[in-house]
Amino acid sequence: MRANVWSGRNTVQVENVPDPQILNDRDAIVKITSTAICGSDLHLYDGYIPAMKKGDILGHEFMGEIVEVGRGVSNLSVGDRVVVPFPIACGNCWACQHELYSVCENSNPNAGLAEKAFGHPTAGIFGYSHLTGGYAGGQAEYARVPYADVGPIKIEDDLTDEQVLFLSDIFPTGYFGADLCNIQGGEVVAVFGAGPVGQFAIASAVMMGAERVIAIDRLDYRLQMAVNRAGATDIINFDEDPDIVEQLKELSGGRGPDAVIDAVGMEATHGHGVVHTADRLKQATRSESDRGHALRDAILACRPGGVVSVMGVYGGLLDKFPSGAFMNKGLTLRSGQCPVQKYLRPLYDHIKNGDIDPSFVVTHRLPLGEAPNGFETFKHKQDECVKVVLKP
């Protein structure tokens, strides 16, 4: 089959590789009809996630048709149309039974490596380095899906691929980011990053009843999407005025937002000159892996007693953590890879009910063979790119 593989920093290429096979009874094989490039794939592309190997098939947002099932899968049949969640979860361990699917205790066969990096192993993830298991990803014609009796959701409606594809990651991830903010109605919520996850965090905060939702980015076209499609009430373009913390105060009557969502992660582009230069230097010399302006500003901006919810991906260590602000303001810091399995059913219902049409983020549609161009366009934000969907 054809697959998009990582072949070094800033290089991916579409190659011929063997077709996947059933390796365990609870596996299924999916013929992929749509797959997407995620913002977190750019961290792999840019070389900031350790434990990548040349030849790794990328991609963790995919859907398609079941073409084979193992003997242990009774809820799916050949021909079923499914969306596959990005965390691989067994459904049996203590974590899965408490809906903490993204920290499944059994699905990462590199648990020892992950333990060294994070203290504990986390779940396997498709196409996301060997720290999360070394699983082939979904930017390919076919994929093997372990624990297929637990993860994939059957799509039985007349919805297009693009309307349901993002159930695999970015819609639940944005929703999870807002869910962690404990929105009861009437809050001010600020969202750092108006990329795809940021868009869904904004849309979800609005659905949950937040009254003022502030989108923060440096790209006007993304801020416009946040207002026109996701429902943001206010925007901050930090290219025009870099003092985000002060602007958030102005937009919240001096109180600060009740909750702040970091939908940026380890490659933040804003930040004060000296600190940003120090971060870039330390990252380049591998003495710090994460540039953390978004997280630092989120902590400084959040109102006392508020929640900072981290959806942006971090991979290692971060300097200059504003511990004083965090402690003295009594903030709650919450985070995680999204336990997608927990949200699949309710968010599928939201799509079916017409509460949201997640396809609004799609700006580029390319054949799988053009994945390398897709990565470049997305990375450099060319041609007003927000989301690239690949068709195998």
């Binding site: 063997p18 077709d19 098939i57 059994n106 590199n110």
Partner: protein
């Protein structure tokens, strides 16, 4: 000679875990003990591992892939996976399942050709 512990918690009652442990004939010559985990979280398995040459021996062992402690941890993970999920987690990079020898010799994360699948036995 130093003694280290390999520990894991299996999400099943103690009687069941002990019975399955004996059936799987785990841990030859290792001192094993079982404890009910607090808060209804299953059963803790504690394995005492004799580590030749202390820390240095452990370091050398982990480089050559034969450290008893690392191997015991692999075995505990396999046991937990089999008991909880019915199978051993296999990826394209680690088709045998967790294995200390694989840590620095990962396959690329792409499907195995038929010849390699035969070698691995899957």
């Amino acid at each position: 000679m130093a003694t280290r512990k390999a520990v894991i918690t299996v999400n099943r009652p103690r009687e069941e875990v002990e019975r399955l442990w004996r059936e799987h004939d785990q841990g030859d010559g290792q001192a094993v003990s079982f404890r009910k985990a607090p808060g209804d979280r299953g059963t803790e398995i504690h394995l005492e591992i004799e580590q030749r040459g202390g820390k240095l021996g452990e370091a050398i062992g982990s480089v050559v892939g034969a450290a008893p402690l690392a191997k015991a941890r692999d075995e505990l993970r396999h046991f937990k996976q089999l008991v909880e999920t019915g199978e051993i987690a296999r990826s394209d990079g680690v088709p045998e399942g967790e294995q200390v020898q694989r840590k620095f010799k990962q396959r690329p994360a792409q499907p195995l050709p038929a010849s390699e699948r035969q070698e691995v036995g899957v």
